[in-house]
Every structure is written in structure tokens, then in C-alpha cells.
């Protein structure tokens, strides 16, 4: 039994995706899950609940802020919004992720090894 699906991602991945979604537009938890699953073409099956611990972590680090309100479908929702420091953090995460991803791609690609 795996404990949460987020275990399948690398640490911080879920937070990064949440921040990116929120950068586009503020959303509540349910909408965030929908958004991430759609954007990944359902490749990432995020267990819905696992979003909440991640959201709490972001809240605590003041990277997002939350407010109770009413949604467009007239539901009572708690809407999350990215903060200025959240934006900065996201930039930094993305660039370091891109570097890591590049590195992994280089190692995995069947080209010439740079040592020869």
C-alpha cells in the first residue's frame, strides 16, 4: 500500500504545480485538483486529498494566502492566492527543476558520453 500518490513525484513537485496553477489564477482546492489533472492530460493521478497537506505547507511558508468566499458556481469555497514571495519561490523552483530535468535528460539520452 502506498501512502500517498505524491510519493511518486519528487519532493516539492506537488507544491510547484500548485504554485504554477495559482500563478495563472486563484482557485480553491477542488479546482486545483481538476486543473492539475487536466493540464497533465491525466498523466498525473494525484490523490485528491494529498493536495491539502501541501497547501498547508505553502500557507505556513506564506507562499500562498487563503480566504473564504463564494465561487462562480455559488459554492462556499476557500480560495488560495499566490503571494509575492510565492512567485519568487516558484521562479526559483522552476529554474532549478529545469536544470535538474536537463541533467537527467542528458544522462538518460543515448548520445555520446562527454567523458570520451
Amino acid at each position: 500500500m502506498t501512502e500517498t500518490t505524491s510519493r511518486d513525484l519528487f519532493p516539492g513537485a506537488l507544491e510547484m504545480m500548485i504554485l504554477e496553477s495559482l500563478r495563472r489564477q486563484p482557485a480553491h482546492g477542488y479546482a486545483l485538483v481538476q486543473h492539475i489533472q487536466q493540464r497533465s492530460n491525466n498523466l498525473l493521478q494525484v490523490e485528491e486529498g494529498s493536495l491539502y497537506p501541501a497547501l498547508q505547507r505553502l500557507l505556513k511558508a506564506k507562499l500562498v494566502k487563503a480566504e473564504w468566499g463564494v465561487s462562480s458556481t455559488n459554492r462556499r469555497v476557500r480560495t488560495y492566492q499566490i503571494t509575492a514571495s510565492g512567485l519568487g519561490h516558484l521562479e526559483q523552483q522552476i529554474s532549478s527543476f529545469e536544470r535538474m530535468f536537463e541533467g537527467i535528460t542528458l544522462v538518460l539520452s543515448p548520445g555520446e558520453s562527454p567523458a570520451s
Binding site: 501512502e3 500517498t4 480553491h28 482546492g29 477542488y30 490523490e47 485528491e48 486529498g49 494529498s50 491539502y52 497537506p53 497547501l55 498547508q56 505547507r57 500557507l59 505556513k60 487563503a66 473564504w68 459554492r75 462556499r76 469555497v77 476557500r78
Partner: protein, 875 residues
Amino acid sequence: MNWIPRFFRRAKLYDDLSEEIRLHIEERAEQLMGEGLSPAEAQQQARRAFGNRTLLEERSREVWQWPTVESIWADVRFALRQLRKSPGFTIAAVLTLALAIGANAVVFSVMNAFVLRPLNVPEPQSLYALQHGGEVDGTESYPDYRDLRDRNRSFESLVAYTVAQAGLDAGTDPTSVWAEEASGNYFDALGLQPYLGRMFHATDEHGPDSAPYIVLTYAYWHTHFQDDRGVVGRVVRLNKHPFTILGVAPQDFHGTLLFFNPDLFIPMESPLVAASDLTARGNHWVFETMGHLRPGVTPAQAVADLNSIGTQLERAYPKDESKMTFALVRPNLYGDFLGRPVKAFMAGLMLLAGLILLAACANLGSLFAARAADRSREVALRLALGSTRTRILRGLLTEAVLISLVGGAVGLTGSVVLLRALSAWQPFPRWPIHIGVNPDATVYGMALVLALISGILFGAVPVRQVLRTNAYEVVKAGSGGKAGRRIGLRDVLLVVQIAICAVLVTSSMVAVRGLARSLHANFGFDVQNVMLAETDLGMAGYSADRVPAMQKRMIDALKALPGVESVGLADGVPMGGGAGNSMVFTDTTSDLRPSNAVTAAPIFNISPEYFRAAGTALLSGRIFTWQDDKDAPRVAVVNREFARKLFGSEMGALGRYYKMWDGTRIQVVGIAEDGKYGSLTEDPQPAMFLPILQSPSNSTQLVVRSSRDPQMLGAAMRNALRQLDAGLPVLIETRDKPMAVLMFGPRMATVSLGVLGVMGALLSITGIFGMAAYSVSKRLKELGIRIALGAQRREVLQAALGRPLKLLALGSAAGLLLGVLASRVLAFIVYQATPRDPVVLGGVVVAMLLLGLIATWIPAQRAISVDPLILLRED
């Protein structure tokens, strides 16, 4: 940081979170219903998609928590709830641990005080006492001490001291005090500053009689001078000599003898010490010599230094010196004099306390294992509901730690009470003996560590059980599906525990029985109806020629008291400590070297009526008369063993002669029965009785035989003696009192073994009780069915308690066997201890049976009173 508002904000945060999650699931369900699912199906699927809500919510909350402390607090609260739900288990476990920790704390404190703790002086690490090589004796003569002190290059300074009793007259009632006679440099070399006034110094001593000074101990100043600061400079009388009080020693300094608290300190070169004692090289009266090693000098170097001085002294004074080789020892227990037996006894006691701990741990282990088995269903359920194994183990561990802490605290509290009482206790009114065993930080630390280790170690017994739990199987099958018939860990633990307890019970019975027996041995004198009055005419200033006349007057005065049958006088009484000793030679021996001696025998100088008063039987010959004085031929009454050793037979001894160490020829005029002279365990010893007028002594015991009540007779005796001389301190006690000193060791040993035995018994009760109660509760349903099917009480009991009782029998048998083997070791400490005693063997069997009965009583009642109807309805 301000945590109060944070705390409330957090409550809001958690509420928000729960609400948010609820809304999330609701929204999902609504959407699913929109896709055509039924409300119930939609709800279920929404929940499934969300995942483990409780776990995720908990994890979300954890983000905000001060992680360790708060989750530990949560664990603690949960554990407390769990423990409250099973009070039987909790009480049994806490009690078990409390017993073990209490026993170990007491024994450890005593060891700490006796063996580990250094003397209460500055820099005790470099303080060493001198002991003669290869012997447990550290006595020196005063000239030897001075030579050692002045010639050595290893010690910063050497101090010497001895203890003596003296009569102190401070203007009111003369009292007998214990004085530490110390060398002048004593306080300076030990680095002690006065509490009041000044100490005496090396510069105060200018030869014999030169330093009539007193430094009071704080305790004596406090109790006898009522903290009077004006005491400094006052002149008081010690043995009738004027002494000036210089000051008061520091509050926490009780002299350099452990347990032995003197009342005051006086210099050695004071009027109390005879000038001849200060110059006689052969007179080894200085009790102990010690000093701080110089920085950088190792003990080995110091020993070499001392030995070379010893060789010089032996060469210079061949007549007086022998065996002048040295060893360095810690001064705490008077070197190895007391150190060796005390250390051996403490080691034995620690071993037994360790056994108690082991038994308690076995008990805890089986308790925890039984509890885990009981909770296997709960554990499985929690696992099935998504709790992690770590989480469950953490809970179990928290419970174990809680039980350890509570058990440890209870045990420690009990031991502190006991130790306080022990510290306040003064075992012998005559001797200033205090056993300072108040626990210190080391003891508390040790108790805590022991409690935690045993609690956690044995709380961990069920870990394997939890890790192996297959949630689905247990939930499906229900608990107790397979009642373990094979020999499990619990059974082994219980047998081990009962065996250990039986060992303890056996040893304590052997010890108690041994003591009882040695008290009924034939001492060679009467203990009943005899009183002793100890006086030292030297304390009242009598000169040698006036002593015998005064002693006769004292005898006559006591004899005139109503109810007194006879009064004897002796310079020492058997089993009273302090009797002189002499080598004995045959009459034909002319070279009186120690190696030519036939034997050595204690000497008791007695008055004519002593034998009658003491109740010692004269077997043949005559007793002394007052005519056996200095001018008469030297005569002796010897005991049978003496006659046998020296003359080959009892009958042949009468009228024959033997020689003393100094060559005096003595004729045997009577034979007395054998007795005990030095200790209760001794083999028959030769002893001799000499007429007191032929070797007079200041310090004597009046032996008074009477059938009157000792309390009233004592008062009358005191009165009669005071009328003779109001300035003479007298100590009046019953005949058994001085023996108590010699009995102290074995008595203490017996008491400690007895207590440990009782603890062992209590532990086996909790152990068997736990097992039996568990076995009954586990099989309650089965028992109910049996009763419903018409089983008799006996059969029910057999089914319920057969196994615990079988284990009890097995453990007891093993323990008894081990105990009998261990008792051989006990025989070294406890007198007359023999395990091959039907009373002991029978006693142990009966005791274990009784323990089994007591322990299984409640579970048995429960088994019999099972109501099948109620039981079968359950589940």
C-alpha cells in the same frame, strides 16, 4: 514567541481545514451525481478519490505543529487513556517496576555511601591511607608515624588519628564523649577551615601534655552547647584535665571515619595521651595514617618511598619493628579493615537487587506481551483503518515509558523514605555510629535510567507481534482464534521470574533461620538477667593505686542493692569487644618467639565473683579469691579448649604451668566451660581468665546478676554509683547490648535478605496474578461454555488455572534448587546458614504454595463465577 494567540489561531486553522475538506468531498460528490450516479454511490466514490481523510487531515495539521513536543503530548494523552482503560495491567506493571527500582535505589544508595562516595574533605581523590603490606591493618606507633611523616617525599603531609572515649565535664553533668585524637597538622593537611573560632595546628604541639585544646564537631556544639558562640575560649575538663575549646569544625565534617561521628577533636600531644605512648615505638595505638599525595606522585612511587623508610626503621629498631611494608588504600572504610567485608557484602546485595530487577523485567515482559496479545484485535483494526505500524509502536512505546516513569517515581519515593529513616537511625547508643545513606543525584539518575531501560526494553516485547500482525486475518478471525498451546515467550518469562523469586525467598529463609539459630547457641555466659555497668576510673582522675579500692567499693555498693544476686568485675567481657590477647607458650619454651607459641588466647581479667555473676560454669578446680593479688603467685582459670590445646587434656591441665608473651609463668587452677568470645561464628577458642588484682585496669565492666526489671535496676545502679563519685561517667546496659555491635553485620545481612525475600514474594504474586488473570480472561468464553455444558467447579478451575500453577511449580522447583546452591555463598555472610534444613526447604515450598494461592485467588473467583448466558450473548 507568543504562543497563546498562536494556539487559538491554530484551532481556527484546523476548523478551516476540516470544513474545506468536507466541502471538497461534497463538491466531488455533486459532480458525480451530475454524471448520473446515485447519491450513495457518488458519496462513496468521492471519498475514495479523496483518499484517507483522517490521515491526510492529520498530516495537514502536522504542518502547523511544533512537531515533536505536540505529537508526543498527543501520544501521552492517548497512552494515558489506554492505561486508564486497563487498570489491572497498569497497577501490576507500575508496582512491579516500583518494587524493583525501589530495591535497587536503596541498595545502590547504600553502596554509594559506603563504597563510592569519598570522604567529605577537599580534593578527596588524592587522599590515601597507609596500610601495612599484605595486612588489613594500618596501625602505627607514634614515633613511627613521625618518622614516616618527616622522612617521606611523596605526601604533602601525613596526618594520624585514633579514637578514644573520655569524660567531659563542662560544668554540669559529666558525660562520656568520643574524641578523635589527631595529629596537630590534621585540619591543615585536610584543608578544613573552622566554622567558628580556630582549629589546632602543628605549631600548637610541643611534646607530651603541651596542647590541651578541643575543637568541637558542629553536631556536638549544636546539641550540647546550643549553638553558643561564646564557647570559644571556654575551659572544660576532659578526664579531669583542663582543656580550652578553640573552635567548631565545619558543619558537614564528621571526622575521617565513615559512619563513626566523634564528638570532638583533640591533639595527640595533649594530656589525654600518656607521654609513654608518644615515645614507645612498639606500641601501635595510632589507628590510621593518611595524607594527600603530592602533585605528580603516583601511588606506586609513594609506596616505594614509604617502603624504603620502613626498611631504614626496621634496621634502626630491630626489636620493635617488623613488617614495615606499605600499601595505599582509600580511607573511607578504614582501608581494607572494613572495606573488604563491606564490599563483599555490598556486591552480594547488588547481585540480589539485580535479581529483583531481572524478575521484575521478566514480569513486565510477560505483562506487556499478554497485553499486546489482548490488543491484537485493536492493533489489527487500527492497521486496517490506515494507521501506520510506526504510529502503533510509538503508542506502545509511550505507554512503556509512562509506566517506567511512574513506576520509577513510586519506587524512588519509597526508597527515599526508607533511606531517610536509615540515615536517622543510630544502631548503637554506645557508639556514635551514623549511616549516612541519603540518596544524591547519582542515585536519582541511576534509578531513572534503570526504570527507563527496563520499561522500554520490556515494553518492546510486543513489537514483533505488532510487526507481524496481518490485519485482515485478525479482523476476519476475531481474537483468540488460536489459543496458543505451545510454550510461548510468556511462559518462559514467568518460569524465569518465579525461579528468581524462589531463589530470593529461599535465601531470605536460610538467612533468617541462621540468625535465629545463632541466637540460641551456647555462649558460655548468660544473656538474661545480667546488666553491665561500664566505667573508666581514669575519666574521673583516679590514680593507679586508688583504682582497686574504688572498684571494690563499687562492687559492694551494687551488691547492696535489693534484688542483686551477685556482682562481678572484669576488664572486658566475652562478646563485648576489646579484650586483650596474648601468645601462649608451654612452660618448657625458653625462646618466646611468636612462631614458638602454641596458640593465642583472649585474656579476661576478672574478680572472684565474676563467674557466678556472668553465669559461666566452672568445670573443675577453684575460682579466684581476693587473696590472688599482686603478691600472690600468678594463677589462671582457662577454658576447656585452652586446656586441650596446651596440655592435651582437660584433666591433666589443673596445677600445670604455662608462659605468657612476656615470660610470666602462670599456674592453671581451674577449668571453665567453652564459650563465644569474639564472634558467634567462631570455632571453639582457647581463652584465659586472670585475677584482676594481678593485672589491674582503669576501665572495667561491672557484671550484675539480678532478676529485677532491667529498667529499674539500671536506675538504681546509676544512683548507687553516683553516690560513690558524682564525677564518674557510667554506661549501664543490658548484657545483650554490646553483643549487638558484633551482631550488627549478620543482623543487617538478615534484614536485607529478608526484605529482598519479601520483595521477591511480592513480585511472584504480581507475576502469577498477571498470568492467571490473563489466562482466565482469555478463555472466559470457553469457560462459560464449559459451565453451560455442566462442568464442575473443580474442572473449571483446572482448565483456567492449571497452566499458571504448573508454571509456578516448575519455577519454584528450579528456584529452590538454585537457592540451595546460592545459600552456600550466603553462609559466608550469615551465621549458621545452611540450606540443608528441612524447615527451610519446607518453608520455601509452603511459601511458594501460599503465594500461588493468593495470586490465583481473584482469577479463580472470576473463573468460577462466570455467567455463561452473559458471555455467550457477547460477540
